[in-house]
């Protein structure tokens, strides 16, 4: 099969995907190295996190990403309507993520936990909240793409917008794939 020179979507988004990955990468490394100096603290408070909620969220994001893959496939097939439906499904899974994560935050905040409580919670809240905001941003992008798809704004010949939104959304998923084990599981 003929290979492309460029990744799917608008190239600009890929520059920002790289920038975002860089920031998250630095955050991950900072977490890991700080943990190395505070192992007891990190191990103790990691246990207070809700791993079941994190599982639901991981599944939600993977599923959502998969739905977006289907949406891209649909538009390549010139089927705007199907593309729109898959995007809606993806958005719904994004919403699931936000609700579950919101529930987790509610739990922590009701215990009076915030960025200043201790180093572990500082990292936990910083990392997940920064990611949380990315989920919201990604959903806004997907929503914009979905609305345009519904009015037939894309076609098999021209659907850069769908691919752009999809690439960003996969990045949000990708980051969570590392975040979940690092913060919730590895000890």
């Amino acid at each position: 099969m003929e290979k492309n020179k460029w990744p799917p979507g608008d190239l600009v988004i890929w520059f920002f995907i790289m920038a975002e990955l860089l920031v998250f990468g630095v955050f991950f490394a900072a977490y890991a190295f700080t943990r190395a100096n505070n192992i007891e603290l990190f191990n103790e408070f990691q246990l207070t996190l809700d791993r079941n909620a994190a599982l639901i969220n991981t599944v939600a994001l993977i599923t959502s990403s998969y739905f977006v893959v289907r949406a891209v496939a649909a538009i390549r097939d010139d089927n705007s309507k199907r593309c729109f439906h898959w995007l809606l499904a993806a958005l719904f899974m994004g919403l699931v993520f936000l609700v579950v994560k919101g529930y987790e935050y509610h739990h922590h905040f009701s215990l009076g936990i915030n960025l200043n409580t201790n180093t572990f919670y500082m990292f936990y809240l910083s990392l997940t909240f920064f990611h949380f905001l990315h989920v919201i941003l990604g959903m806004i992008i997907l929503l914009a793409v979905a609305l345009k798809a519904r009015t037939g704004g894309y076609s098999a010949a021209e659907h850069t917008g769908v691919e752009t939104g999809a690439s960003y959304w996969h990045m949000v998923d990708l980051v969570w794939m590392i975040l979940f084990p690092l913060v919730y599981v590895m000890r």
Binding site: A19, L22, V23, V26, F27, N116, M122
Partner: protein
């Protein structure tokens, strides 16, 4: 120059250069006081000279930005300025207010000035860079509003280009964030926190939009590269600037009573602040290399490229040097900060204003496109003198800073501040001498406006 009303910029630029000279003279006084502690004491104490030095810098850069806006907005919008009379009126008001404030600093003790201007009604004075009496601050707001109105109406009735839009956003942000200078709680930590919303969000936020817009304008004009390409780059650069710069404010929140999560957030985001500056360097050189024509104003192109390089070095590299929290723990509040400040301001803001002056002044003075070859060559000499001087000033201050950090904070037997100052006096002497070379460069710069007046304009052939 296509529109008569653009000429109002000439007033602004003239004032800017005049105040620039004042700034440098007071810089030399400060440098002398660093090595001869009793110089001009008690007539002009250090704090007064420093206020004059920094306030003149801010005011002349504002004059420069306004002049640049009055010149480029009508040309971009393809229409005359909305109200040239208002621009002239505001010029004189601003100049008078600025001059009165500086004279106030110099003629009466600061405490008396505070009393005379009724600072107690709304105390805003006595904080770094915001030393202006409250009434001057209110005056600045009024001038800024009138200016924004004038520029905004011009843009509204004319063509809406990205350059104009970004410039307008930058100038609006400048006015909006200045409002935080009126917030001065007794709680020092809160005071400092919001003080940075003026200072940081200006110089590492909205001012960079202004810088980006002016640079884009100059590049469009001098290289003939497609506007679409330049505007796209402009968007990406300012996007990166704000994405890194807003949370990057956190690098000021390490040691002033703010919570410790800022050490992480500030370090990570401010470590990325050099990226937009690097992109700006790449972009400026790229555009010049891809130029569709050779502009005969070589000096303006030199200033524009110089801005890109020096902003990256001063703001990007020298900023990065001490932005990470573990490093900043030792360097915070030392000559390292001063070194960074000098090169960053010169590279990013002084040079962009001089680039704009260099590009537009010849046309406002009746030339077709540029000055004579002799005037340009003199101007380029001044470019190199001033730029190399500032590089050396930065290096000397960095040397002083490194020694200061070691002797005062890092060694086994930390020495008192004043003892350390004596030990690093050599660097201060070198800095002061270099300052005179800078003044020489500035003198040449001004002289370049007066030489070769009767000679023909430089042509493209000569420019190659």
């Amino acid at each position: 120059m296509k529109y008569e009303s653009q000429k109002v910029a000439k007033l602004y630029f003239t004032a800017a250069i005049g105040l620039f000279v004042g700034q440098i003279l007071f810089g030399l006084i400060l440098g002398a006081q660093y090595v001869m502690g009793d110089f001009l004491f008690p007539e002009i104490p250090f704090n007064v000279a420093r206020m004059v030095h920094t306030n003149l810098l801010i005011v002349w850069l504002l004059f420069g930005f306004m002049g640049a806006a009055y010149y480029l907005v009508p040309e971009e919008a393809e229409t005359e300025l909305f109200a040239p009379w208002l621009a002239k009126l505001m010029f004189w008001i601003f100049l008078a207010a600025g001059a009165a404030t500086i004279l106030g600093y110099l003629l009466v003790p600061y405490a008396t000035l505070a009393e005379l201007t009724m600072n107690d009604l709304l105390p805003t004075m006595g904080r770094e860079f915001l030393e202006q009496p409250t009434i001057t601050k209110i005056g600045i707001v009024i001038v800024a509003l009138a200016f924004l109105f004038n520029i905004g109406m011009t843009i509204l009735k004319g063509r809406k280009t990205v350059v104009n839009l970004v410039l307008l956003m930058g100038l609006t942000g400048l006015a909006v964030f200045f409002l935080f200078s009126f917030f001065n709680p007794v709680n020092l930590v809160m005071d400092k926190y919001y003080w940075w919303w003026v200072v940081h969000l200006w110089v590492e936020g909205v001012w960079e939009l202004i810088l980006g817009a002016i640079l884009a304008f100059i590049l469009i004009k001098t290289t003939g590269v497609d506007r679409e390409v330049i505007e796209k780059w402009l968007y990406i650069i300012i996007a990166m600037t704000l994405i890194t710069g807003i949370v990057g404010t956190g690098h000021h929140y390490y040691w002033i009573g703010t919570p410790e999560f800022w050490q992480w957030w500030g370090s990570i985001f401010s470590a990325m602040e050099p990226i937009p500056f690097f992109m700006m360097t790449v972009y400026a050189f790229n555009m010049v290399n891809k130029r569709r024509r050779n502009h005969p104003n070589k000096a303006a192109v030199l200033w524009a490229l110089g801005t890109a390089v020096m902003a990256f070095l001063g703001a990007g590299v020298w900023g990065f040097l001490h932005t990470l929290a573990p490093v900043n723990y030792y360097t915070h509040g030392t000559q390292i900060t001063a070194a960074h400040g000098h090169m960053a301001f010169y590279g990013a803001y002084v040079m962009i204003v001089l680039a704009m002056i260099s590009y537009s002044m010849p046309m406002m003075r009746g030339r077709e496109a540029c000055n004579s070859a002799r005037a340009q060559s003199m101007e380029m000499w001044s470019f190199w003198l001033m730029t190399i001087s500032i590089v050396f000033i930065t290096l000397f201050l960095t040397g002083a800073g490194i020694l200061q950090v070691y002797l005062q904070r890092f060694s086994d037997n930390p020495m008192p501040f004043m003892v350390v100052q004596d030990k690093i006096a050599l660097f201060y002497w070198l800095r002061e001498i270099t300052g005179f070379v800078f003044l020489l460069g500035l003198g040449l710069y001004i002289a370049s406006f007066f030489v070769g007046k009767n000679e023909p304009e430089a042509t493209v052939e000569l420019a190659k």
